[in-house]
């Protein structure tokens, strides 16, 4: 039994193939990075929730607040923000002054979901740092957080007048985020 002997072919062009593949990949990554920088962040939700109605919920109120708890029906009729927060959350404290300031401007009602937070702790925290919320619903067992796909606090949802989620922001809202993303979107939704 003799079989043909093989050895590495001396052709030159295959040697360039890896380089071409690498250049194509780098171009691909470059484009993706540019997209991410341009705001098309893939982590901004593979949101199955985007452009779907706000999930059904009816959360209990914090005691002794002027407005009641938060139910899905409360979100219809007006563009609003829903902010998931907790008195235990350090990053929430960072965005809080901005929420308080926004509430003074009265551009949009801000509702809160007090996530896994004893009501006394929530109230004490709001008394201490200011209360920007119209309605606040308690979510002691993460039912709302799970329905909303919340991965951590704070997270903020923009809900349109039909009660449909139009945007989700993960992490503290910075003035920059507000000016470049949320404010223009809210203005557009209000038209």
């Amino acid at each position: 039994m003799s079989s043909p002997e093989i050895s590495a072919p001396p052709k030159r062009w295959p040697l360039v193939v890896p380089l071409v593949v690498v250049i194509a990949l780098i171009a691909l990554f470059g484009k993706r990075l540019a997209d991410v920088e341009g705001g098309d962040d893939p982590r901004l939700l593979p949101t199955v929730l985007l452009n779907t109605p706000f999930p059904e919920m009816d959360l209990a109120a914090l005691p002794n607040r002027a407005f009641g708890g938060l139910a899905t029906t409360d979100l219809k009729g007006e563009v609003s923000l829903v902010n998931v927060w907790g008195s235990w959350c350090v990053a929430c404290l960072a965005e809080h002054p901005l929420l308080v300031a926004l509430n003074k401007e009265k551009t949009v009602p801000i509702h809160g979901i007090a996530w896994r937070d004893p009501p006394e702790a929530s109230l004490k925290w709001l008394a201490q740092h200011g209360d920007p919320y119209t309605r606040v619903g308690q979510d002691p067992r993460s039912t709302a957080a799970i329905a909303l796909g919340v991965t951590g606090a704070p997270e903020t949802f923009v809900v349109d007048a039909q009660g449909v989620i139009r945007y989700k922001h993960i992490g503290p809202i910075t003035p920059e985020v507000w000016q470049t993303k949320l404010a223009p979107l809210i203005a557009q939704l209000k038209k």
């Binding site: 780098i26 991410v36 235990w88």
Partner: protein
């Protein structure tokens, strides 16, 4: 103060790395021995400086110095010491410092242990290592500096993600980095060889131990990550084809290919240009993994907080390092080609097929991982590629690989005797057939069990074939010879051990995938779930406190045929800093299968808790398989031809050809 010194040391390391990356290269080109000689002290000094910077950062974490921004963001005084330390690499900045420290230590190791290397090859290798170091230190200093102070310092830190507060995950990243970064040595050797225009069996003998060491670390690192996911995430799953898992698995596949092709270069001086290419590809894929995790361009649970500025920097580094080396390859590879010719049916031929299958598998996994990106770029819409794709393309590539792994080692170099090899594998084939029939007889004939029977059969085949191969080496006319058993080189034992590990792993993957069972029920105290012959009875749930968490602990009594088996206590831990829940599954193992119990939320007011029970047959085999493979690598590493100083002196081949 220590922090500032650490910062300074890192800046100094950059300068040293720049010297290391340029002077020896110029010296090698001009034949200037003094310039070339700068490589070794530079590599050693660079590693000391990086290690000092890493130690300074670690100190800040241990003493909870919250005036350092990274410590404030990722640590907390209430954390146990182990997690204060592992917190150093639990975030992007700190993990980069670990990365660069490992890189520079590998460089120093080449400087210290490479006494027999030709002077120009050593100078060039260390120079390339220095250039990689310079690139990444620049990256740390300008975009990811962990030494920045925070003013005023907060009274308390943010804490570390509780999922990461786990012994398995404390050591997973360092292991992985030792693997990833270890491949930099093979890369540097490959680039240096291209610059030299010379690759021979001595080159392969120098590269192989480094590759082997990196491969062992990567194997154990991936295994550790999988083990962690299994017991910590509470789904009883151990592999998810997540982009970041893939990012570590792809270099493992090409690294495994490299390991095998380097043998061909060492023994037969064939496949040289291919081996160089694999060395470059493997480290490039390691860099790609680093990039994907840190740039935010892929969706993954593992991703670090993303920052596009970092992404641009790493991409630029990637373009220079990978693009540069492939350009060099395109120009210089013809210079290193040539070498031994061999028949397709030979040990070399078998290793070549091994390489083709492994690189094809690596390509398909890479394609699946990047496909969402490609689809997005081509406007095909946003999508994700999940386990069904990977299983569908990966398994058909691995099955032939596993079968051929049984045959390859029995073929002779240059021209093998396939019929003779198969003749000797009759017993193995018989056992495999037996496994096939037994699996079907025990579990019934349906689609899943046919696939499972196939998996078990090839696992038994590989196991038996590996034992056969070992026997054929140690058995002569006079039967088993103690002399032969002792004299067989360690590399042969390493191979056998790693292949046996592969067989055990295949059995584990097959069994764990095919026969996993689960039940989810809400149990009141005294109620039970029956699964796989076990009766799991819920007794009670109570609150317990850990150092930095409060937990709900369930107590379950497990019996089998009325006899007590175990008491299992799964926990649901509530961490307060940061707020997060983790599940601590309780696992009872028989060594062959696991019983896995998870306690969920309270259900209703009558003290009922949602309880999930999994029966996970063969999952322990996964860990045995990984450990055997890692052990095989270590045994092979201890072979005397790899030992320091032996590289040149050992001239006679140490592999015995199979007797025939």
């Amino acid at each position: 103060m220590l922090i500032e010194l650490g910062h300074f040391a890192l800046a100094l390391a950059l300068l040293v790395a720049l010297v290391q990356g340029t002077m020896p290269l110029l010296g090698a080109a001009r034949g200037n021995p003094a310039w070339m000689a700068m490589a070794e002290p530079a590599a050693i000094v660079q590693s000391l400086l990086c290690a000092f910077a890493f130690a300074a950062l670690t100190h800040a974490y241990i003493v909870s110095d919250f005036s350092v921004i990274g410590v404030a963001q990722n640590s907390h005084t209430a954390k146990p010491l182990l997690y204060k330390i592992s917190g150093v690499w639990g975030n992007h900045e700190g993990s980069m410092v670990l990365w660069i420290t490992v890189l520079s230590v590998f460089g120093a190791a080449v400087a210290l242990f490479g006494a027999n290397l030709p002077r120009t090859l050593k100078a060039r290798t260390l120079a390339v290592q220095g250039l990689i170091g310079a690139g990444f230190i620049t990256f740390i200093l300008f975009t990811s500096n962990p030494f920045i102070r925070l003013n005023p310092a907060p009274a308390q830190g943010n804490g570390l993600n509780p999922l990461l507060q786990d012994p398995g995950l404390a050591f997973h990243p360092p292991m992985l980095y030792l693997g990833y970064v270890g491949f930099s040595v093979a890369f540097s050797f490959a680039v240096a060889a291209l610059l030299e225009g010379r690759v021979d069996s001595a080159w392969a003998r120098w590269v192989r131990p480094w590759t082997l060491a990196a491969w062992v670390f990567l194997t154990l690192g991936i295994g550790l990550g999988s083990w962690w996911a299994y017991y910590e995430l509470g789904w009883g799953g151990w592999w998810f084809w997540d982009p970041v898992e893939n990012a570590s698995f792809i270099p493992w596949l090409t690294g495994t290919a490299l390991l095998h092709s380097a043998i061909v270069v060492e023994r037969r001086e064939a496949l040289k240009s291919w081996t160089i290419l694999l060395a470059i590809i493997t480290f490039s894929l390691s860099l790609l993994g680093t990039f994907l995790v840190r740039s935010g361009i892929l969706t993954s649970v593992h991703a670090f907080a993303a920052d596009p500025a970092r992404g641009v920097f790493v991409l630029a580094l990637l373009a220079v390092a990978i693009g540069g080396s492939f350009t060099l390859y395109a120009f210089r590879a013809p210079a290193v080609d040539g070498g031994g010719v061999f028949s397709p049916i030979s040990r070399e031929g078998g290793l070549l097929i091994n390489n083709l299958l492994l690189t094809t598998a690596a390509t398909t996994v890479l394609l699946g991982t990047l496909y969402p990106l490609i689809a997005d770029a081509l406007e095909l819409g946003k999508l994700s590629v999940g386990a069904p794709y990977f299983n569908a393309v990966f398994v058909p590539l691995m099955a032939p690989l596993v079968i051929l792994t049984g045959i390859g080692p029995l073929l002779a170099w240059k021209r093998g005797d396939l019929a003779g090899a198969l003749q000797r594998l009759k017993a193995a084939a018989g056992l495999a057939a037996l496994a096939l029939i037994a699996t079907l007889a025990l579990n019934g004939v349906d689609l899943i069990n046919i696939a499972a029977a196939g998996g078990m059969a090839i696992a038994v085949w590989l196991f038996a074939a590996s034992v056969t191969e070992w026997l054929s080496r140690v058995r002569g006319q006079d039967g088993l010879s103690w002399q032969r058993i002792v004299n067989l080189p360690r590399s042969a034992y390493g191979m056998t051990c790693a292949h046996l590990g592969m067989a055990v792993l295949v059995a584990g993957v097959t069994g764990a995938t095919a026969w996993k069972e689960e039940r989810i029920e809400s149990l009141k105290p005294g109620e039970h779930i029956e699964l796989a012959g076990y009766r799991v009875t819920f007794n009670t749930a109570r609150d317990v406190r850990g150092p930095n968490y409060a937990a709900l602990q369930g107590e379950y009594t497990v019996t089998r045929d009325g006899a007590a088996v175990a008491t299992m206590r799964p926990e649901k831990r509530n961490f307060s800093q940061p707020v997060q829940q983790t599940t601590e599954a309780a696992i009872h193992t028989t060594g062959i299968s696991d019983l896995y119990v998870v306690i969920g939320d309270m259900d209703g007011a009558e003290g009922a808790f949602v309880t999930r029970v999994y029966h996970e047959p063969f999952v322990p085999f996964l860990w045995y398989g990984v450990l055997l493979m890692g052990l095989g690598g270590l045994v092979s590493l201890s072979d005397r031809r790899h030992r320091i100083g032996a590289a040149r002196r050992v001239s006679a081949p140490t592999h015995a050809l199979p007797a025939e």
